[in-house]
């Protein structure tokens, strides 16, 4: 397994090179550059700005320079605010990861519970409730859900805040829970869709497993129902769920434009979209490469976890 893991990690290097190359040329082929502002800049200003950020070099030269810097983990400077790109990514990511983990925990906890409860009450009241929530969650994009949560729970009921500019749990570790009104709505907003997804998969998978012979055998030999469900059924039913949890986790921690925008959370999702809109070349590259690394590693982790969950899988 170690050899397999090392092989996979090494395979990430050419992958990153390919992604960096494609992104670089794709990005520069898009019309409009960082200095195409609403108000045109005088040519002398534009020339000095392009020089300041190394955009006056021919494209191949810029490409080689970029790769050289990338090899030494130097992402360069953001054109938008002259800051070190790795600092920007680090700061934004710290927030996105916290939001992502919270949403992931919410989605997994409620998704699994709903799915299991639904499957055990197939066609019963609990099932109808579970299926209703799962369908509503899947049908309601965050662009609808987020403002809805704000209007109902922040503006009308006044339970929570509209602005979650101080989102995060680092204060909680020191016992400072003062931002609790800022963390709940975004967590639900981001976690609702994956929760619905996890609930559906869990339900389907549980229903299939509950009909297996070995479950019938377990019941026939007189085991308690709770034991049957948890030890025999759920354990096997969760393998397909595990498959989707990895990508869901990677998706959640890399930021969400919509949730970040509607709750004013300074995360990486908004930063990434903004970098594309304003053609902040260095930041686009930095975030893309960073996302690629995260997703590649998450896939690796999930593949390795299969081995733990299912002894039949060997590397």
């Amino acid at each position: 397994m170690l050899a397999y893991a090392i092989r996979r990690v090494l395979a990430i290097i050419p992958l990153l090179f390919a992604i960096a190359t494609i992104t670089f040329f794709l990005m520069h082929s898009v019309e409009g550059g960082p200095f195409d502002e609403d108000k045109p800049l005088p040519p002398a200003t534009r020339a000095n700005l392009e020089r300041r950020y190394g955009l006056d070099d021919p494209l191949p030269v810029q490409y080689v320079t970029y790769l050289k810097n990338l090899a030494s983990f130097d992402f360069g400077i953001s054109i938008a605010n002259n800051r070190d790109i790795s600092d920007i990514i680090k700061e934004r990511m710290r927030i996105s990861v916290q939001l992502g983990i919270a949403a992931f925990l919410f989605a997994t906890a409620f998704g699994l519970t709903l799915g299991i409860v639904s499957s055990l009450n197939q066609n019963g009241l609990g099932d109808y409730f579970g299926v209703f929530v799962a369908t509503a969650g899947a049908a309601m994009p965050s662009i609808v859900l987020a403002p809805l949560l704000t209007i109902v729970f922040a503006v009308e009921l006044g339970w929570f805040k509209v602005l979650s500019t101080n989102y995060g749990f680092t204060g909680w570790l020191q016992g400072d829970f003062s931002n609790w009104k800022q963390v709940i709505l975004p967590t639900i907003g981001l976690g609702f869709l994956p929760m619905a997804f996890i609930a559906r998969i869990t339900r389907a998978s549980m229903l299939e497993v509950l009909r297996q012979d070995y479950v019938r055998t377990a019941r026939a030999k007189g085991l308690k129902e709770l034991n049957v469900v948890i030890r025999h059924a759920a354990k096997n039913a969760l393998i397909p769920v595990l498959t989707v949890l990895g990508p869901i986790f990677a998706g959640l921690i890399t930021g969400s434009l919509v949730i970040e925008r509607f709750f004013a959370i300074p995360g990486l999702g908004g930063e990434f979209v903004r970098s594309v809109i304003i053609r902040d070349y260095g930041l686009i590259m930095g975030v893309t490469v960073f996302f690629a690394v995260i997703i590649a590693f998450m896939n690796l982790v999930v593949d390795l976890l299969y081995g733990l969950a299912d002894p039949r899988i060997r590397y």
């Binding site: 019309e31 609403d38 108000k39 200003t45 605010n81 002259n82 919410f106 997994t108």
Partner: protein, 563 residues
């Protein structure tokens, strides 16, 4: 699944349970949403209370580099120049002790600083700091966006153009920039030609001082908000990028006493979200979300403030591209556009219809002077189309309007399509792009028709002409080239007779608009702001250039009844 995994799952439930209990425990937070309301008793001398405003994250903290509206609003909170514009846009002494002494030829300005000026860290603020500020804006490596407004300062252009020169040459050019510290409190600035608007420029961010005790060289990086020093009424005491900034009074501010203890800026990109935060009292003042204007008018009749902003948007024609190279076609398109209906249908009265280029107040006019030429008149429009050789739109070549993707712009595009089809019988093609693509096409003059215009940088008619409309002007992207227009702008530019100068700019506007040479103005934008009644000093000090809240340029005058 192993036992430890189940334990993890259980602990997730525990976390969720705690969150649920926290929700049920109710409201013990410190929301200051009691809307004080209407008390006009003057506040005491000592600053008191906190005002939270909705803002946009600045791009750069460097006043000698930036040209973004949100940056500039921040900068006037914390720094001030030699002069500061009053509500009538007249430069009043800020760091300067009185008006500048101007030589007889109008080319040398001698300015005395107020005594005992200090930066927020207690270090003396001297004439050398103003020298360094101007040199930074002219420095080619800093690449300041607004260098062009200092083009009249001797040597500034030469220095700015020397990007590829060696270090020694750059040092020489830096020293040759016409700004000198005669002594610690006396500054001398030499300009190439007498310029009546020069004192106004000395009120703007490109001429703000730079702390020479913090910057070893002219191209040293500009310190961030918490590392920098300030000479304005407020200074940052806390800052988290993209989230919030807190401003507290600067103990060394030389001006009148400030009114509030703290100003908190919340950085939010979306005006709709900010308006929700205004409803819950999380912000006390913010921009109003224009698409929601109808609703806001009934919801906050006394807290919504609409006032003219100095921005004009119109149909911009590339006068070298058929069919809009023909004056008759440009006039016909303008005359076939019912601006009044457009304001209601498309913009919900968030803008005001116009045919003027320069906002009339800025130009000493009443407005409506060009309605006869450019205003809605379908019969005239038809006649012009016939004159241009396209009776009832027959044989009219393809015409494409490039617009930035937004819900309002799409409405505007459809409105123009319908109007021109109805009155002229022509088809208009819309090309909806992102903002950078539109700007790139515009900057390359690769377009027939765009919607666009100008946002004023400084309050003078010259800012509406210089570089924009002269033949070969540095930002003349509609490629207009008219001798009479060139002459009028040329004569006006360094004309020291203010009345004559202003008249020349009015003449220039007439020449520009009589054949819609490059532009047919459609509307002036309005600023739309929400301010809680417990705040004083904002609405009273509103200016057309406000970005975040009314009275952006006079933070020292804000007060609140909320303690």
């Amino acid at each position: 699944m192993t036992n430890s995994k189940w334990r993890m799952l259980l602990s997730m439930f525990a976390v969720l349970a705690i969150m649920a209990i926290a929700v049920a425990c109710g409201d013990d937070d410190d929301d200051d949403d009691t809307n004080g309301g209407g008390d006009n008793t003057p506040t005491t001398q000592a600053p008191s209370g906190t005002i939270t405003i909705g803002a946009t994250q600045f791009e750069t903290w460097d006043p000698h580099f930036s040209d973004f509206a949100q940056d500039i609003s921040h900068m006037v909170y914390v720094w001030r120049g030699l002069y500061h514009l009053d509500l009538n846009d007249v430069p009043q002494p800020a760091m300067a002790d009185g008006a500048p002494k101007v030589s007889d030829d109008g080319k040398t300005y001698t300015i005395t600083l107020k005594k005992d000026l200090k930066w927020s860290d207690g270090q003396p603020l001297t004439a050398a700091d103003f020298v360094l500020g101007i040199q930074r804006t002219c420095n080619p490596d800093n690449a300041g966006h607004y260098q062009y407004i200092l083009t009249n300062i001797v040597g500034c252009d030469d220095y700015y153009a020397a990007a590829d020169a060696d270090a020694a040459k750059k040092t020489e050019l830096q020293a040759a920039v016409g700004v000198k510290a005669i002594d610690a409190t006396t500054l001398e600035i030499k300009i190439g030609a007498a310029q009546p608007t020069f004192p106004t420029l000395l009120s703007l961010w490109p001429t703000f001082p730079a702390p020479s005790h913090k910057l070893a060289t002219v191209d040293a990086p500009w310190p961030g908000p918490l590392e920098n020093v300030y000479n304005g009424p407020f200074m940052p005491s806390a800052y988290t990028e993209k989230a919030t900034m807190e401003l507290v009074p600067n103990p060394n501010w030389i001006g009148t006493g400030v009114g509030v203890e703290k100003v908190v800026l919340k950085y939010v990109d979306d005006a709709a979200v900010l308006n929700q935060a205004y409803r819950t009292g999380e912000v006390d003042a913010t921009v109003a979300n224009k698409p929601e204007l109808d609703k806001l008018k009934t919801e906050f009749p006394n807290e919504l403030h609409l006032y003219p902003a100095t921005r004009t948007i119109g149909l911009e024609f590339n006068v070298t591209k058929a069919p809009v190279d023909k004056a008759e076609v440009r006039l016909a398109l303008s005359q076939a556009t019912d601006r009044e209906t457009m304001m209601k249908v498309v913009f919900k009265d968030a803008n005001t219809a116009t045919t003027n280029w320069v906002p009339p107040a800025r130009n000493g006019l009443k407005g409506g002077e060009y309605d006869d030429i450019l205003g809605f008149d379908p019969a005239k429009a038809k006649e012009n189309m016939t004159k241009a050789g396209y009776p009832d739109g027959k044989g009219f070549p393809e015409l494409t309007l490039i617009m930035v993707d937004s819900a309002t712009n799409k409405l505007l595009g459809e409105f123009l399509q319908a109007e021109w089809k109805k009155h002229l019988g022509i088809e208009l093609k819309l090309e909806i792009t992102d903002s950078k693509t539109r700007s790139s096409r515009f900057n390359a003059s690769d377009f027939q028709l765009v919607t666009g215009g100008w946002q004023e940088d400084y309050p003078d008619p010259e800012n509406w002409f210089l570089g924009l409309w002269e033949t070969g002007g540095s930002i003349n992207k509609v490629l207009v080239s008219i001798k009479a227009l060139d002459d009028a702008i040329d004569k006006a530019r360094y004309n020291t007779n203010d009345e004559e100068r202003r008249k020349l700019y009015r003449d220039a506007e007439k020449i520009l608009l009589q054949e819609a040479n490059g532009i047919a103005p459609l509307y002036h934008t309005l600023a739309a702001m929400l301010v809680k009644p417990h705040i004083k000093g904002m609405v009273e000090n509103k200016r057309p250039g406000d970005t975040f809240v009314p009275g952006d340029w006079y933070i020292e005058l804000w007060k609140t009844d909320n303690k």
